[in-house]
């Protein structure tokens, strides 16, 4: 994928405009000029279209801000791969974990990652900074400096900060600068040898389980530490109903706490592991059906602030192993929109509310200039058909890795076009 020249004026006509930031859901159009949106609104172009603009007929399909994915992993330094997968899924802004190679615990790396990813794939990649040096959970990383260089939040990626004192100090220090800490809530010793959810299925398969308490203990601890320090915490990929009860109660008490979940936790349950299916080996593990239902309720009532794809590409060599030895994680960006739309098709959320969870809300949480259709904003748009059916097939994925827990699943809703900074970077039917 190469950068084209800066585009001129483009008029997107005949669209169903969806802007979760303003609650707009109406027929209309968008006019972009170069990298920016000039005008967007209901009824725009009803009477006339600018003569100097290139017309893009959306044919009545939905036009919304590009997706903002607040949690992806970049495998080593494979930035190109991320871009292809992102734009095919309608993701225009993505935030990557600091567990890249090298680890993002230094200012120079923050700048390098953002630049390298952008250059390779057009998608706008913002990095999280490491919360502790080397992600080792001991010494605090230079959070202030990293934030100055562009880190949008701080996390130890796929590990919780196990040491309570370190976490307390991190929250306290981060509060000094108003920085957000993102926690992977999993008590490491309780989860140590576990490879799937603890329960009947694990017992039948003879696999070691990870109890829901591993998640609860860290959430409960961190909530206490937030109260103690005044810091802000965000819990990533929450997977259990009991976690939501804790977070809901904390929000009711006015604590500065937020959380996200990922599609596997509302679209799948532990039975997806089936016969040792390593594509369904995720971290946190897929939970019981009651948890899945509770996660949907958390999305409905606003306890969950965002949906992140948790995109984690893994090579075939790392997945085609006995279940206990296989790597965790699944692809997520290409199925993010369609899995979120399942919530709409199943009557759990309105289309605007579902979109909000993958555009405006994550953008607001991290203070990113994205997720809105407004004059002056970057022209990051997607055109999608919420009803178009397709089947997830590893051979058709744009990612080099093929490990999706949704492999073989029929989905409804597909990205047709992705536009970043005014440039068409993905066109399904081209």
């Amino acid at each position: 994928m190469t950068l084209k020249n800066v585009p001129g004026r483009i008029a997107y006509v005949n669209a169903r405009l969806l802007d979760p930031a303003t609650g707009l859901d109406a027929p209309g159009g968008v006019l972009t000029d170069g990298e920016l949106i000039v005008e967007a609104g209901a009824g725009l172009f009803d009477t006339s279209v600018p003569e100097d603009a290139t017309l893009v007929d959306c044919r009545g399909h939905c036009l919304s801000p590009g997706l903002v994915d607040m949690r992806i992993q970049i495998s080593g330094r494979d930035f190109e791969n991320v871009g292809a997968s992102a734009v095919a899924g309608g993701v225009t802004t993505a935030v990557c974990l600091p567990s890249t190679a090298p680890i993002i615990d230094d200012r120079a790396v923050v700048e390098f990652v953002a630049r390298a990813a952008r250059k390779a794939g057009l998608v706008k990649v913002y990095p999280y900074g490491a919360l502790t040096k080397g992600l080792e959970g001991e010494e605090l990383a230079e959070m202030g400096l990293l934030a100055q260089s562009g880190a949008v939040g701080f996390t130890d990626a796929t590990k919780a900060v196990a040491n309570a004192r370190t976490m307390a100090q991190a929250l306290s220090y981060a509060a000094t600068f108003g920085l957000l800490l993102v926690e992977h809530p999993e008590e490491p010793t309780l989860a140590e040898e576990g490879v799937m959810n603890e329960g009947e299925t694990a017992t039948r398969l003879g696999l070691t389980g990870i109890p829901v308490e591993a998640e609860l203990i860290i959430i409960e601890r961190d909530l206490r530490l937030v109260e103690m320090t005044g810091g802000r915490v965000h819990f990533a990929h929450v997977s259990t109903g009991k976690s939501l009860e804790l977070i809901r109660a904390a929000k009711d008490r006015g604590l500065p706490v937020t959380c996200d979940t990922a599609p596997p936790y509302f679209a799948l349950n532990e039975t997806a592991v089936g016969d040792y299916r390593t594509f369904a080996k995720l971290s946190p593990p897929l939970r019981a059906e009651a948890d899945r239902v509770a996660i949907i309720e958390g999305l409905r009532d606003g306890t969950i602030d965002a949906i992140a794809s948790d995109h984690t590409p893994k090579s075939e060599d790392m997945k085609r192993l006995p279940f206990a030895d296989a790597a965790d994680g699944g692809l997520g960006m290409e199925t993010l929109l369609a899995t979120a739309l399942e919530l709409v098709h199943n009557g759990h959320l309105s289309l605007l509310d579902a979109l909000s969870l993958i555009t405006r809300q994550p953008a607001d949480l991290l203070g990113l200039p994205a997720g809105r259709l407004e004059a002056g904003a970057a022209a990051d748009l997607i055109v999608f058909d919420p009803n178009r059916g397709w089947k997830v097939s590893d051979s058709e994925l744009h990612s080099k890795a093929k490990n999706t827990p949704f492999d073989g699943r029929p989905l409804q809703g597909r990205v047709l076009k992705t536009v970043i900074d005014g440039r068409l970077v993905f066109n399904l039917d081209a």
């Binding site: 329960g199 039948r204 016969d275 006995p322 206990a324």
Partner: protein, 321 residues
């Protein structure tokens, strides 16, 4: 000894990966066939040529003299060529080895692969990559189907039936593939199963496997027909599952005082190797009248002969089809 003609088409499985999913008919068929082989094995020089020209490979990623020898003997008594392959545990950490080995072995065209592996599900993964029949000789904590079959054969020969029996499985259930296979088999055949263990050695939601759970030996053994003891798998224990061997033996080791709670003629079983004085008292283990432990070993060969035969005949049938 002559052999009864046998219609393999009634056993529809290509592999024997576990007991879960087998029907009562499948299990009875294997047990009936094994029953015949018990007599053959007791005769001097008893050997058949049922599997002449066939190759059985024992692929063991975990060391096990007993099970491997039993399969080796079973294969040889049926006239097959048997090759033993032990794979060092250090090389299996690199997981590609499993698939690579499967590919290599597949190219040698064996008829049956007998596989033991430390990871649950590894044998199934391997079975998807080869053309021959695969027998699970124990995968992680998952299943050990031939052990459950030999236990069932032992019980059936002593009691005449499996249905309606009250069976207690005691000890380290958490780490035991033997327990899982036995639970499936005994439930399928109409026996009632109790598990007796400290909570730390029971897997989550064990009750949902259709068993009753006890933490007290005397309460659990009350009126049981069969007492199956399990080996404490200390090699799989990294942390504190119990405070000491002394304490474990005191509460969960089988001795005569605890055995009093079971039926007077209760049969005592153990898959071996035993830790005497840890999970079972020596005098109980050696009680000729009540212990069936040595008989279990004998049944093992017969059961494995039946499994090898049935799966190989399936291959023949497939080839004809």
């Amino acid at each position: 000894m002559s052999k009864t003609p046998f219609d393999s088409s009634v056993f529809p499985q290509r592999h024997l990966l576990g007991i879960e999913g087998l029907s009562p008919l499948d299990i009875s068929l294997l047990l009936d066939r094994a029953d015949e082989y018990v007599e053959l094995n007791r005769s001097v020089g008893g050997k058949l040529d049922t599997l002449a020209g066939r190759t059985v490979i024992n692929l063991f990623y975990e060391s096990s003299t007993r099970t491997r020898t039993s399969f080796e003997l079973a294969g040889k008594r049926l006239g097959s060529d048997v090759i033993n392959m032990s794979v060092s545990t250090s090389s299996i950490k690199k997981g590609e080895t499993l698939i690579d080995t499967a590919m290599t072995l597949n190219a040698m065209h064996p008829d049956v692969l007998v596989v033991r592996h430390a990871s649950s599900g590894a044998v199934k993964l391997l079975s998807e990559k080869v053309n021959c029949a695969v027998i699970n000789a124990g995968d992680g904590r998952h299943e050990h189907p031939t052990q459950a079959l030999l236990d069932a054969l032992t019980i059936r020969r002593r009691r005449g039936h499996l249905d309606g029996l009250q069976v207690a499985i005691c000890g380290d259930i958490l780490h035991s593939r033997v327990a899982r296979s036995n639970i499936h088999l005994l439930n399928t055949m109409g026996a009632r199963v109790r598990l007796i263990a400290p909570k730390t050695l029971l897997p989550a939601e064990a009750e949902r496997l259709g068993v009753e759970v006890f933490h007290d030996m005397k309460a659990g053994l009350k009126d049981c027909d069969i007492v199956m003891m399990l080996r404490l798998q200390t090699e799989r224990m990294k942390t504190n599952f119990f405070p000491s061997v002394r304490e474990y033996y005191n509460f969960f080791g089988l001795d005569y005082s605890k055995l009093e709670a079971a039926k007077p003629d209760a049969l005592i079983m153990h898959p071996g190797p035993m830790n005497r004085g840890v999970e079972i008292a020596s005098d109980v283990a050696d009680d000729i009248g009540r212990s069936a432990i040595r008989e279990q070993v004998e049944m093992g060969v017969a059961v494995r002969m039946a499994c090898l035969e049935v799966l190989t005949l399936n291959l023949e049938r497939e080839a004809v089809a």
